[in-house]
């Protein structure tokens, strides 16, 4: 059975906005993995933007990948919906402020996570930080919410642990990792193999919304030496 990466809207948006959406096709061949999305991601990355002139071209590019089976849409099943509801319930009862639960995730986030669980996916590609951090580091997410809302925020560690347990074998990646992998494997014909090109690639991903800081990009690039693998 082929391994699976479940892809969130945010990672597809970054890839299409940086004009490197075709990386999915190259990675699929190189890894022999399937890239799968729930129906909600197809709606957000193709159907809805097709109606918005500003984003129509990007939507057409993404649609092309679905039409050619590079990206696949998983059918909504009763089991998937049930898992999705349970994940959403758990996620939205992890944090509370003044006795009230903070609803940090939405149905579409839960569908991505549920699909990864149901398909036994190896990876989830997600560029926005909340869905990623609530699994990887809920304490740090609590600190962000508390620090920015200036309100006392409680983390229910038991709920967070139960949520995390669902994804203990799943690796969360961003488009930054996908692009860096593709770059270091020399999958880009259109740009030279240089530190400057890699820097431009990562900054473009960041400016298109990938959850990565300039500091992290700088730290990564500091280890780069021309003609060597990163």
């Amino acid at each position: 059975m082929q391994n699976i990466v479940v892809v969130d809207s945010s990672a597809i948006i970054t890839m299409s906005s940086t004009c490197f959406i075709n990386v999915f096709e190259k990675l699929k061949k190189d890894w022999n993995y399937r890239f799968v999305v729930p129906e909600s991601v197809y709606y957000e990355t193709v159907e809805r933007p097709l109606e918005i002139p500003r984003f129509e071209l990007n939507a057409v590019r993404v649609k092309h990948l679905f039409d050619n089976n590079v990206l696949e849409v998983a059918k909504k099943t009763t089991k998937l919906q049930k898992t999705s509801s349970e994940i959403l319930r758990l996620a939205n009862s992890c944090f509370s402020s003044h006795g009230k639960f903070l609803k940090v995730l939405q149905k579409a986030d839960a569908e991505v996570l549920a699909l990864a669980k149901e398909l036994n996916a190896k990876m989830v590609a997600v560029d926005e930080r909340t869905a990623r951090m609530i699994i990887e580091n809920p304490e740090a997410l609590r600190n962000i919410i508390e620090g920015r809302t200036h309100s006392s925020v409680e983390l229910d560690k038991e709920q967070a642990y139960m949520l995390k347990e669902n994804f203990k074998d799943i690796f969360f990646i961003r488009s930054a990792e996908l692009l860096s992998y593709a770059f270091s494997s020399r999958m880009f014909d259109e740009i030279e193999f240089s530190k400057k090109a890699l820097e431009a690639l990562l900054i473009s991903a960041k400016l298109n919304g990938c959850g990565i800081s300039f500091g992290e990009i700088d730290e990564f690039l500091s280890g780069w030496k021309n003609e060597t693998k990163i």
Binding site: Q106, T149, I173, Y181, G209, S213
Partner: protein, 183 residues
């Protein structure tokens, strides 16, 4: 904790006094409240405060011949909203807010200078604030009614991700990724 009507009264005061900056600050407070309460109506008032602040900050809006009439119409509709909120007319609240949104759209269509309209821009801006406060991108767009792609691109232009901790660095994740796909 202030009621929604108290916020709208505050909004009216700043708008009537042509005070753009306090409207912007009110918009920030309202989106925080909308996040904590998961309340779309508060989010709409936050976007409204943001858009009115934008209008008051642009000379080409204020110097337009149409503006005194539009301003009076806005004040009238805001007064109507305050009255409805005080008399607890829940259905009419949404209708009156929608009326204010249509009025904003009209002003923008006549005098705006951008392809993306002011209300949509306001929704994307406030959704990015909700994201900064900790909501997911999807949740932030649901709360404000903004378009997902617009919000993500807006977030990309901010420093939101700069101050956030990383569990594993790009280098560590890339190494792990290489091992995984080689297995």
């Amino acid at each position: 904790m202030p009621e929604l009507v108290d916020y709208v009264v505050e909004l009216r005061r700043y708008f009537a006094g042509n005070d753009a900056k306090p409207l912007r600050e009110l918009s920030n407070r309202l989106i925080k409240e909308a996040v904590l309460q998961d309340n779309k109506t508060i989010a709409k008032i936050a976007v409204l405060a943001y858009c009115l602040h934008k209008i008051l900050s642009k000379e080409h809006f204020l110097k337009a011949s149409y503006w005194p009439r539009a301003r009076a119409d806005f004040l009238f509709a805001i007064d109507e909203l305050i009255h409805i909120l005080r008399t607890d007319g829940k259905r009419e609240v949404q209708q009156t807010i929608n009326k204010l949104i249509r009025m904003l759209d009209n002003v923008d269509k006549n005098f705006g200078r951008y392809v993306q309209n002011l209300w949509d821009k306001g929704k994307a801006k406030l959704a990015s604030s909700a994201y900064a406060l900790g909501m997911s991108l999807q949740k932030a767009t649901e709360l404000t009614g903004a378009d997902l792609r617009s919000v993500q691109l807006y977030i990309g232009s901010t420093l939101i991700h700069e101050e956030e901790p990383t569990t594993e660095s790009l280098r560590e994740k890339l190494e792990k990724l290489r091992k995984m796909v080689k297995d």
